[in-house]
Symmetry: C2
Amino acid sequence: MTDGTGRPDEFGFIATYLAPLAEGCEGALGLKDDAALFSVPPGQSAVVTSDALIAGTHFRITDPADSQGAKALGVNLSDLASMGATPLGYTLILALPPDWTTDWAQGFTAGLAEYQDRYGIKLLGGDTVAIDGPLTIGVTAIGSVPGGGQLTRSGAAAGDDVWVSGTIGDAALALALSDRAGRLDAPDYAHLLTRFERPQPRLALGRNLIGLASAAIDVSDGLAADLGHLGRASGIGAVINVESLPLSGAARRCIEKEELSAEIVLNGGDDYELLFTAPPQSSGAILAAAEKSECAVSRIGNTNDGDSFRFIGKSGEDIDLETSGWTHF
Amino acid sequence: MTDGTGRPDEFGFIATYLAPLAEGCEGALGLKDDAALFSVPPGQSAVVTSDALIAGTHFRITDPADSQGAKALGVNLSDLASMGATPLGYTLILALPPDWTTDWAQGFTAGLAEYQDRYGIKLLGGDTVAIDGPLTIGVTAIGSVPGGGQLTRSGAAAGDDVWVSGTIGDAALALALSDRAGRLDAPDYAHLLTRFERPQPRLALGRNLIGLASAAIDVSDGLAADLGHLGRASGIGAVINVESLPLSGAARRCIEKEELSAEIVLNGGDDYELLFTAPPQSSGAILAAAEKSECAVSRIGNTNDGDSFRFIGKSGEDIDLETSGWTHF
């Protein structure tokens, strides 16, 4: 049945747009039952995380529909990555506003399908409802990790190296420069925008860091804020060398052209890179794990037995993040 | 930190209202990590279900805050019950509208705590966000079921008995009669309202029906609609004797006093009872399972090899549900 606009009702929506995402997954029961089944490999612990994305807050209503799907799944898989977990499947809560379109539904589910295929998982189940408010997407990702091997935020010790994967600041720059995109180098801005719209959960790296990293978190609130989360959970302080922060070429060029402060890469969120710690003697093994994961990593500082988080520049001077409105700690 | 109205920020909200719900659950990691850990007992399959509740749609904004929490968790546990699963834990997505109050948060989490305690589970994790729209609650419940033993909607065969647990129609009557509550017997209306606000997931019954029931579903859309879901999934038809439907004394008295049609109990939702099928020779075992579960069950009809779902009255006459606006099939 449709509602006269060509849009199917709840059961039609599930059959048309969601059931294909569950195809080939026996435990999803065709999305036609009350719950779904999944198996956790023997000797593994199960891992679960739930994240909500609300249109206008966690993504822009103007973002392509497929990137909305990719992001909803990607940010949840990033939480699994930070535990060293391997994804097993996910459920989807979808609260649709009155003006949803079939074009949006097709794009959104295409984005989910792309990420499902990339990370080898299927949709297990969920709930589709109407909301008199903004499009709201809730994903629960389920994974598994070798029993007792999970990475957490709380294992860092004083004297550990601090590492981060990939590059940081790209997504924050895409947002900050969205009204100036026209005067930037087009491929550069496209790179930043892709990083904002399509987070790359570092699942292989997380898995390969088990037994090596002492603590890990994914960078979603911004590197400075998430370092604080990890540091307080571990009871350590840290000093970060801002010169060591890995920036993409696009980010470097845009920062220079627009004369931006480096603080945007520390305070901006949505990187979905892994920030982790490890004892200095593990650095060779960390680099080998990164190579095996086909993911660059950079050593950006050290932990200490204090309780503050300092960011120092080229000449050892402190960079005061509070002046830029950064209030998390 | 608070926002000047005495309301904490996101991290304060988690620490004040949610962390106590995770206390004593090692795998929840104090709600301070990116994901949570849980164990599935050896030989069991894991089961997952996600349901969203939106204020004004799935519950009334005027419903007591504790019942909003109880309902959000209860309806998800009911999905586990219909599979015969035992709950292991849950995650919570909470999208808070601008006008949320600390009184509401205390009441809501008290309702969650009550249901947690009753069913022996803890909060594993989740996400708290702001929404410029209605309060939106997303729960993902996780459970386990003996490998291969799960109940599904699709196992019913022609000639099975059709059973339902507890009483039906109470919640629908509470809603339908809400503006006439003053002229009803107060304890009667209170009974109906409690049934609407605090669903009782039939977890013990579901577990004890494993190996006995051929198919099961929980009654959330209404008995007639959910019979259709189960019947179509199983490829059978059914005849239900309306006289056999189990009604509470309160429901009987209110229906009589207000001269309501019996159809309200067939079309109304929110019963959260188990509707299930079993071969006639299992009826003794079904009754024993029900007694063991301290939950009444009633035999209300039979399946057949057709594809229609008939409701017949005392003299064998068909009751035409379509005339009452019931359009699901």
